[in-house]
Symmetry: D3
Subunit: 158 residues, 6 copies
């Protein structure tokens, strides 16, 4: 059975030692969504307020959160990220907002957690900006959709 | 049509002015879940490693994140929280982990975002600790389940 | 001769004791500007890229920075801000960008430093986004333009 | 026309991808000033309180702020700085305080923003310590004065 | 037997609910020391470098750390501190440095942890500045020496 | 006489320039302890509450604090840590808790301060969790016990 890397032999939580891993080019993509009422989506799309502000604020919050991942996730390593991009699209089929984050780093550990954190905080920011008009929203489907670099090589959910 | 409170007349993102709101006792509860493979849940439940470490680490990360909500969500107000509690239960029906956060404050704004942030970061921390054994996990169903205090009064999703 | 409130009798830096001050409604406004080449301003105004992104990013950075003032300025008190607003206007007379921040709080100390920090970080963010096209920009004229509340009462530079 | 590197083809704010840039030795110097009343400067120079405390506190605040640049400026990369130095001199010609910051890093991006942030926060800290005696101070002339390393080579404003 | 307030009935770590406690004026004093070689103390006292810089840097670090206590100690409440003062004295009897921090707040919880954090980080900063000349230093005797306000009333170790 | 590396020729506090130092594998170990009443230790050991929670919370706080060392200690360099481990053992001889932290990094500076910060914050967290039952606890004996890598080579206190 696989071993939980973040627990030592005594079950003690620990930061995995990555000092002996090679520095390679890493990339990860994560996705998630905020599901809302159709009217909420419509409000952002057709309202008098420029729709850009809601999406742009959430995208920026996602980018900034990626840089603070190691402050939030106790056993994550601090990493110098070489790129963070967050894109939010309105999706009437959900209905809601589809969020995608891509993160790159030259380092010793993968950047999935940074991509997932960017998606999570972008979704939370959308929620914050829309909660006055829609109490029943839900954040979901947050998962890693692609990963490149490191020992385990490339992987994609599609 | 409802107004987006976080945008001013020009569509500019802003922190809502809460200076004239009354200080009242506020409470919010949020929930969410991490869905994983049955074997992953089993690993935490029956593995040689004490299951407590995984859950306790994620619960603590959630509590700490709640205190940093205003750092992460651009237009959230800084708040002095009087209580934060995060509980994670293993749920074989999911299969996965059910996360619940309760936050209290004596202040001028609600604490939904603090509860949602606690749930999100607890889920991210579970993901981080289990990702070595399960690439296909997903975080979802993050929503506000109860709210008390403030102008809009009490509200519960159930 | 006036006393420097942040130094004690031995010249030691200290946080002023505000425990005995009354909680009153405080407001401060600060302004500043980024002076750039006319072509840089023109690029933001007429470029193919939506001008909103540059201004909106800097405004948001200013709002978030206001909330972190006490983390940056060693002897500032931590405050719960009830409102932060940052507005950036393009000004061909400068030529450049005029930044204005307004901050409110119900507390024991003034919020000038929060307003000044918001203006400073908004200017720094504009600089960051434009530095690839204009090396000679300068940030200046950062000052408090109005203040209300507290022992010293209202004051305005105009 | 020059391209704004921090906006993608859709005008979306983004962190520039520096993953393919070479790691080189970077250095940047920035300057700025706090202009005050002559009596304020005199108070620091000849007061009973040791002048060192005001200058030393502001210098230290500048050094610490440089390390937090990526937390403050949304699209800045996190960097490991190899040196930060901030020097503040009293200047009767202004009258006021002349601030200079020098930052070094071995990395993929320049360190101008770190030097500018150090200068800005040092000026804000001076303002904070002196505001009780001088309401009309202004922070200005914050600009990059020298830069070395990276693709664009060395550059100096003098 | 006394109950551990930070654990719930299931032994789960939690932030104690202080929402129903009264807002009172709280004060705490903590002390600690850095013990070093006599020559290290002498270097600070009689060296060519002004002794003020070492002590002033550590005092300032202590003040700033007090404001970040809730970020560091997982179950501490965020508090608005009304005063933080840190004083370091050279003590030839130790030999070393005696550190004292005083913290005040108008709030629902005591401020011992803030005072202890200020002392700890001041000691760590002294250690950092002196470690190049003295490898064998030790930080110790960090304890609460006085406390006022709150349910448990005043208390002093002396 | 040895020079204080953190002060320049004018006695000004500065971050040492490490840009020309080699990147090597660094390791440091630090230790410390929380001394408490025998009954306090007994409460953790034999109480109804699982002892794991107290120790696990403090260990995690120590790991997280190590990652924030450069935010707390003014002249410390930001470092990417490759490993942080904190272990707390109950020790009836003290009586109290013995804390040990090990930190690794591939970088230009040593990691003693990160190990010492981890120990300090783990001790503070233990104090916080136990202070309701024991007012007279003291944190002490915090020192570096081993160091490897860098110009000065390996060193151990034992």
């Amino acid at each position: 059975m696989s071993k939980l890397t973040h627990l030592d032999a005594d079950g003690r939580a620990r930061m995995v030692d990555v000092g002996d891993k090679a520095v390679t080019s890493r990339r990860a993509e994560a996705r998630g969504e905020l599901v809302c009422a159709p009217a909420t989506l419509e409000l952002v799309r057709t309202g008098k307020t420029p729709k850009g502000s809601v999406l742009a604020t959430a995208e920026l919050a996602g980018v900034m959160a990626a840089k603070r991942t190691a402050d939030l996730i106790p056993l994550c390593h601090t990493l110098a990220l070489s790129k963070v991009a967050v894109e939010i699209a309105m999706d009437e089929a959900l209905p809601g907002f589809a969020v995608r984050a891509t993160v790159r780093s030259e380092g010793r550990t993968g950047v999935e957690m940074e991509a997932l954190t960017a998606v999570s905080v972008a979704c939370l920011t959308l929620f914050d900006m829309l909660k006055a008009v829609d109490k029943g929203m839900a954040i979901g489907a947050i998962r890693v959709t692609a990963k490149e670099g490191g020992q385990s090589g490339s992987w994609s959910s599609e």
